[in-house]
Each structure stands twice: as structure tokens, then as C-alpha cells.
Point group: C2
Chain length 480, copies 2
């Protein structure tokens, strides 16, 4: 995003006015466009409000923009001799479409991150940059000549990556799959999107865990699905709840994240996993198993296996990715599913984006087959363990008695309950004021008073100060 | 795709039976799955039909699969002690969903290409591998250390690529845009997909050129849009037709490919372009301008500029990509649009795939800024010119009097009319028999008797023999 240049001789307000004028004359802010308020633009550009006031004054004086009490500032309608012209009414277009926008709260958090605010970020559920296998990937790119075809690839994914994934899944996740039944996607997000668009129809009922990451994704509503929650207890989801939702609502699919569930961190035990698969097999409904955190167990000797590892009848559509264990910027995920499902999804994804770029697929294939993979995973787990411990320790010190949490044994997040009644959205607002970001639990469908704190994302040294800010925000919200 | 190993000591039929058994036991071909016919599987695997017959016999003998007259061969239902289990009825799932499958004909062509059939490929609208800037890209990857963040990126696209694109568009396409109003996409396909999903609602009427590439994309129907065709003549589309469609059907958007239109190769002249923009401005409806071929003009001195180059009011949503001028395997495209549109589309694409991988974006940014770009484009045009000339010459020699075409001045395709009445789908079937692939015109909505022959895709030395095969197929179809 553009920012004025503080080292330039041109005054800041003039740079801003010039930039806006340019965007107006390029048609990027067409006649009638609503401009951000002076306060908001100042915040976005990191300047004083008075600087923006001066820039807007200039633009107003030249007739480029106009302000009316109560309706804010807009690009002038009649600037361009457009008396008989009607530029498209963009607000009607952007408010249309079947695809719903992201939750306002999530957009707010992301905008704050995008602006580069100095807040400690416990909100983004991803790895800190230093936890990615940066050296290994750099080495790969520099060390071997890229000799692959650069044309449209196989819509199911680059062949060598699918072969590498088949051995990776066998060795690390206990999943037996041939490369023919693996679809490479742009991460779990696209896997879930393809499943909702291609295998379900508007009006279909589906079951998701409650709380669940799925609640934060408007894609289910965009697809016109009816969502029913399955309560998550310490053992995960109870098959009886699936059975009962099936009887009541004829649910057509069950979405589960059995290992280090997002956001609760719960791990479903082996027996329960078998019961869940057996239950869905009996009912004849597929399970979508999202397994992004399977290899993040902080207990080196115990990496729990997914349900897909025991699924000879193909009831489970398995969704995995490299985002939470290597680098989200690779945008490499996959689906393992019966052949007819893979064919359907590959055909649809070809229409949506014509498949993934060969470059990240080539990198991922070589990384998965390299000797760097195992040491990387061990380093990653050690780093996650130490971050988790720093966060837990800081929470106990700062907020002992105020909050409750189970120490997660894997994943990237700590799920935290505030003991006294608190409105978690109000808590977030105070967090932003104090300089700390996290995700309120109600975004994931939980009752108010829960928060998800990601320990994987901030630098280790920022975790303690971040928790101190969180404690301040909490006290402010509780009025103590 | 798996193929039996001809050098192995294990007989081919046994390898096939083992592979199928494995896939059945992994759940990739669940109980009840319909298997390909013996003939079709033999074709896919490149073996004799008798080999597959023997493999299926083995699998049948072990109870793994079963055949019934009239209903083909299936994986056994009762093999796995599944008396009370009902694996999901996958056919009901894969036939559901709101997203429509690709046209059967396009799937047929692509399957044939994917199998690696030796046919000459005039069907894929892309560059031959040797026309991509392979050396330049290899040099980029090996020559500079990759030091970018590997986390989730900006959903609008990697900042440095957007800056590189802003100068590229200014310099090469006459488009003035700031990097803030550019959205990086996974190619034009995703750009069009985002526009149809986010800015239009089911039931909306839109206008597209007839014939047009758009007709081959079920995405418009998937979005529930009503399509109305605008006839393409030598000057492109007539604004009066837009006006009249607006009056009759209240069309909400117009999709145009004004430069080297796909499939006809038509270029809209400067005056007509202005009239088109003025017409849509008067009506207040946006134009989606698809400009993939803008830099492929075979006349070095005359690279026609897009409508977006004269669009101060932001009526044009400009869609471009590197697929037809550099490498489709980069999967890099872009949209230039008013800010409110960019915000809406970036938000939606974040939900669909969480943005593009940073790797191809990093490569594209460096390539666009490199000294390799201009020489690459010049080499590309020279190569396209020579391929076009070889094809035109071969067509004249082989089919003089039988066909008619205008020599395209850019783009990748030659649009060819068969003078005598011919059913273009029948012609394709005969083409496949003779070993040549192309796209029948009716896929693009034209009347029967047209074909699109891509000269950019095959090797130069395959063009003449390919046209000879095409001539054979045509004579066979016409019965001459």
C-alpha cells in the first residue's frame, strides 16, 4: 500500500493530494466514489489527521472532490464533463454477487496487520517467518536448475509433487494413497472451497465442530449450506451427536479437524476416531478431515495419525497442507479422496484458476523428498514448544485466576477462557488500543469469553510483552 | 497418471491387477465404484485390450470386482464385510454442487492431451514450451537469493509484483494505474471467475462476443448468468448491438476481447474502441476487457493498445496475464479496476484460496523488470510469425478452395471456415482418428463449420504434417 515519502522535499499533504489526484484521473476512484474519512486515511497512511485535512482542502479547492455534511467526502460527479454519462454504480456491483464478504471483524484484524501496525500479533494462525525452512528452500531454488515445462500443467497437480506426497503421506501420516487420487490445491482453504462448491448443493445440511475455524469462513454460507454444530469436548466430537443431527436434519457431510483442533487444541483419541468413521460409514455420509496440524505434536514420540489412516472404504476426504508445517506462502495443499471425487474437483478447479503454478509445486516436491524435511520438523516442534511455554508462563504470571486454559500438545494456538463474564469483541477493541491482536472465540462460534492466542506467529521475545498488553486490555474490559 | 512398467519382470496384466487392488484397498475406488471398460482402460494405459481383460479376470476371481451384463464392471459391494455399512453414494455427491463441469468435448480433448497421445496439438491455446523465456527464468531463480517472507501474503498480491506491473502496464499497454488498484490473480481464468462470482448475481444478463472463448467456459452458467451474444465482424463488436441488448435485457456487464480476439483474431480499431467505451459509459455498465494477446502483434511497429488506455472514469475492468506472452505455468494474471472493486475481489479470493504463492510472483516481478523482457517479446513475435506463416502456407497448399481464413496479425490462433457444410464435431472425431487435435468453432458459440487452429502450441516442424492430417480428416468428413 502506498505511503507518503517522509524523506521527500515535497510536503506530506501535497504528496497525498497528488496521489489522490492521480488515482482519480486514472479511474481508480471514479466520479462519486466515497473517500475514506480524514481520520481513517490518516490512520492508514500513518500521518497526522491535519495533514490529510490539508490534502483534502487542496483537492476540494481544485474541484476534484466535494464534501457534504452527513455524507462524507466524494470524488466530484461533474468534474469530467460527464453530464450525460453514468459511470457504473460500483456500489451496486460490489454489494452483489453470490460470494459473501469476510466477517467484518476478521477484515478489521487483517487491515490492521496489513497496515503494519506495531501490535503484537496473536491473531494470524500461521508460523513466524523464522520458523519456515527458509535456508532449505533457498538452497533448493539456487542449487538445481529448473527444467520443468512452464505450460498449463495437469489440473490435478504436478506429477512429481503427487508422487512425493504419496510417500510423505505414507511415511508421516500413515495414509496409503496412490498419486492418482491426490489433488494438489492452493492450501486447505481451496480444498474446502472446492468441496463446498462441487459436492454440496444450496440447502444441504452439514455438521461442523463447535467451536470451529469453519465458523469464521463465510464460504459455507456463500454456498447456501445449513450449518449444524457438534459440541467439542475433551475427546473431540461425539458420534452420537452426528447420529442425532443426521436423524433431525439429514446432514450430508461432516467436517472435522480431529488433531489439535482449531481453535480448541483438542485431539480425538484413537478409539473415538474409529467410532467416528464407523458412524459415518453406517450413515453413508462422508467425513471431510482437515489435518493441518498433524505434524506439530510437541511430543516427538507421539505424532497422532489421522482418521484417513484407517479408511479402507474411502469415507474420509482428507485435506492437508504445508502451510502450518513449512510455509503458508508456498500455497500448497492437497486432497486425498476416491477417484470420482478427485476427477470432479480437478475439473472444477481447472475452470476456477487453471491449476497451480508449477514453481511452488516443484519446490514443494523437492523439499518433501529432501533430507531437510525431518530436521526442519524437529526444529519447528522445538520452537513451537518453547513459544507455547513462554506464552503459558506469561499468562499464568499475569492473569492467574482470571483465565483458564489447557496446555495444547500441538498446533499453533492456545485456547483461553476468561473466568468472569466478558464480551470478547469489547476485549478485542481494548486489545487493539493496547497494541495486541488475537481472535475472539465467538468468531469460531463459541460463547463469548473465549480467545484464541496464536503462539506460533509473534517473535518469541514479543510474547511476554504481548501477554502483558493482553492482561491490560482484559483488566480494562472487566473494569478492574 | 500411472502406467505399467514395460521393463519389469512382472507381466503387464499382473501389474495392472496389483495396482487396481491397491487402489481398491486404499479406498480410492470404494465398493460399488464403476470401473472403466476394458477397452477404455487399455487405451488409457497404452496396453492391449486382452491385457486388461486378463487383469480384470484375476480381480474377478479374487472377488475384488464383479461384472454384470449391461451394467459394466464394479468394485464388489460385499468384499469388506460391509453388510451394514453404506459407503457414501459418491455419484450423488459428484453430480451435485452448483459448479458445472467442463464441456464434455473439452474434457475429451484434454484427456487425450493428458494421456500424451502423439496427435499434433492445434487445440491448446498456449505457447509451445520452447517459446517461454526458459533461460531467463532459470537464470532468475539461480541467480538471486530468495529473501521474501514465506507467510500468507497480501491477498491483493505481492507488493513488488504490483509495482512492476504498474510500470509494465504504463510502458507496454498505455495503462495508467497505481499498484494499489491492481489485483494479482492466478491468470485470466481466475479474474473472470472472481468477477462473475462477486459482481454479478444469478439471473443477471451479460453480453459476450459471439463467437467467444467465453462460450467454452461453464463458469458463466455456474454463476446463473443469462448470456447474450454480440456478433463479431471485421471491426469487432458494434456499440449499437450493446445498446439494443441493454434495452431488451438490461445487460449488466459486457465482456470483450478487443485485440486479436479469441477465436476470430479480430482487432477492434481505435475509433470503435472509443465508441464502445462511450456507449457503456452512457449506459452505466462496466466493460470487462480481456487482453491476453495485446503484446503478440506480428507487426513490431504496431502493438494495439487496449480500451483501458483511455478510460479515465473507470468503466473498464482490465484483465491481463503472462500466460500467452511468457509462461502459462507461472499462473500470473491481474485485474486493474476501481478501488472498491479491487477490495471486493481481493476479499473474496482470500476466502477461495488465500492468495497466490509468493514464488511465481517473485519470479514474475523480476522478469518484468529485467532486461530479458523486451528481447523475449521480440523473439516470441518472430517465432509466432513464422509458425503462423507455415500453417497458412500448409493450409493453402493442402486445402485451397476448401477453406477460408483471414491471416491473423497477432494472437496464437487461426480461425478457419470450411466452405462446404460440415459438422465440426464430426470433423474433430475424424481428426482424433487421424492424429490431430483442434477446437471446433461451435465450442465458442459459432455456427458449425469453423475450427480454431492454434499455431503457437505445436513444434514448427509438426505444423505441416498436422495440417496434412487435418486435410485428411476434412476429406473423410466431407466424403471426398
Amino acid at each position: 500500500m502506498w505511503r507518503p515519502d517522509r524523506d521527500s522535499k515535497t510536503p506530506l499533504y501535497r504528496q497525498i493530494a497528488d496521489y489522490m489526484e492521480q488515482r482519480i484521473s486514472f479511474g481508480e476512484l471514479p466520479p462519486g466514489s466515497i473517500l475514506p474519512s480524514e481520520r481513517k486515511l490518516a490512520e492508514q497512511l500513518g500521518v497526522n489527521r491535519s495533514t490529510v485535512v490539508q490534502a483534502y482542502d487542496d483537492l476540494r479547492a481544485s474541484g476534484m472532490i466535494e464534501s457534504a455534511t452527513g455524507s462524507g467526502t466524494r470524488v466530484s460527479q461533474h468534474k469530467w464533463g460527464m453530464a450525460q454519462k453514468h459511470p457504473p454504480n460500483w456500489s451496486r456491483y460490489v454489494e452483489g454477487g453470490t460470494f459473501l464478504p469476510n466477517l467484518p471483524l476478521m477484515r478489521r484484524i487483517r487491515e490492521s496487520i496489513r497496515r503494519g501496525d506495531p501490535a503484537v500479533n496473536f491473531a494470524s494462525g500461521e508460523l513466524a517467518p523464522e520458523l519456515s525452512p527458509n535456508e532449505a528452500i533457498r538452497g533448493l531454488m539456487a542449487g538445481r536448475p529448473f527444467r520443468e515445462q512452464m505450460g498449463y500443467g495437469d489440473p490435478q497437480g504436478y506429477g512429481k509433487l503427487r508422487i512425493a506426497l504419496a510417500s510423505f503421506l505414507r511415511e508421516h501420516r500413515g495414509i496409503r494413497a496412490t498419486d492418482d487420487s491426490i489433488l494438489v490445491t492452493s492450501g486447505s482453504q481451496q480444498s474446502l472451497y472446492l468441496i463446498t462448491q462441487c459436492l454440496l448443493s444450496p440447502g444441504d445440511a452439514i455438521a461442523i465442530e463447535n467451536p470451529s475455524y469453519c465458523y469464521s469462513l463465510p464460504m459455507f454460507q456463500s454456498a447456501g449450506l445449513r450449518l449444524f454444530g457438534l459440541p467439542v469436548d475433551k475427546r473431540g466430537v461425539d458420534p452420537e451427536h452426528i447420529q442425532s443431527l443426521y436423524q433431525k436434519h439429514r446432514i450430508r457431510m461432516v467436517f472435522l479437524n480431529p488433531i489439535f483442533q482449531n481453535p480448541t487444541g483438542t485431539v480425538v483419541d484413537e478409539e473415538r476416531k474409529k467410532e467416528l468413521v464407523a458412524c459415518c460409514e453406517r450413515l453413508g455420509i462422508p467425513i471431510v478431515e482437515d489435518d493441518p496440524f498433524g505434524l506439530t505434536s510437541l511430543n516427538e514420540d507421539r505424532q497422532p495419525l489421522p482418521m484417513k489412516a484407517a479408511d479402507p472404504n474411502g469415507t474420509v476426504l482428507y485435506v492437508g497442507s504445508l502451510s502450518k508445517i513449512a510455509a503458508s506462502g508456498l500455497r500448497i495443499g492437497w486432497i486425498v479422496a476416491p477417484q470420482s471425487v478427485i476427477n470432479r474437483l480437478a475439473d472444477a478447479r481447472e475452470q476456477m484458476d487453471f491449476g497451480l503454478s508449477v514453481f511452488p509445486q516443484w519446490i514443494a516436491a523437492h523439499f518433501l523428498e529432501s533430507r531437510d524435511l525431518r530436521p526442519h520438523l524437529m526444529r519447528l516442534r522445538a520452537a513451537l514448544r518453547s513459544r507455547r511455554d513462554v506464552m503459558a508462563e506469561a499468562l499464568r504470571r499475569e492473569l492467574s485466576g482470571e483465565i483458564a486454559f489447557d496446555l495444547p500438545e500441538g498446533g499453533l494456538n492456545l485456547w483461553c477462557k476468561v473466568r468472569r463474564p466478558v464480551h470478547d469483541f469489547a476485549l478485542l477493541e481494548n486489545g487493539i488500543k493496547k497494541g495486541v491482536l488475537f481472535v475472539p472465540g465467538s468468531v469460531y462460534g463459541s460463547e463469548s469469553g473465549f480467545v484464541r492466542l496464536t503462539y506460533a506467529r509473534p517473535r518469541t521475545e514479543d510474547i511476554e510483552p504481548g501477554i502483558a498488553k493482553f492482561a491490560e486490555a482484559l483488566r480494562l474490559t472487566l473494569g478492574t
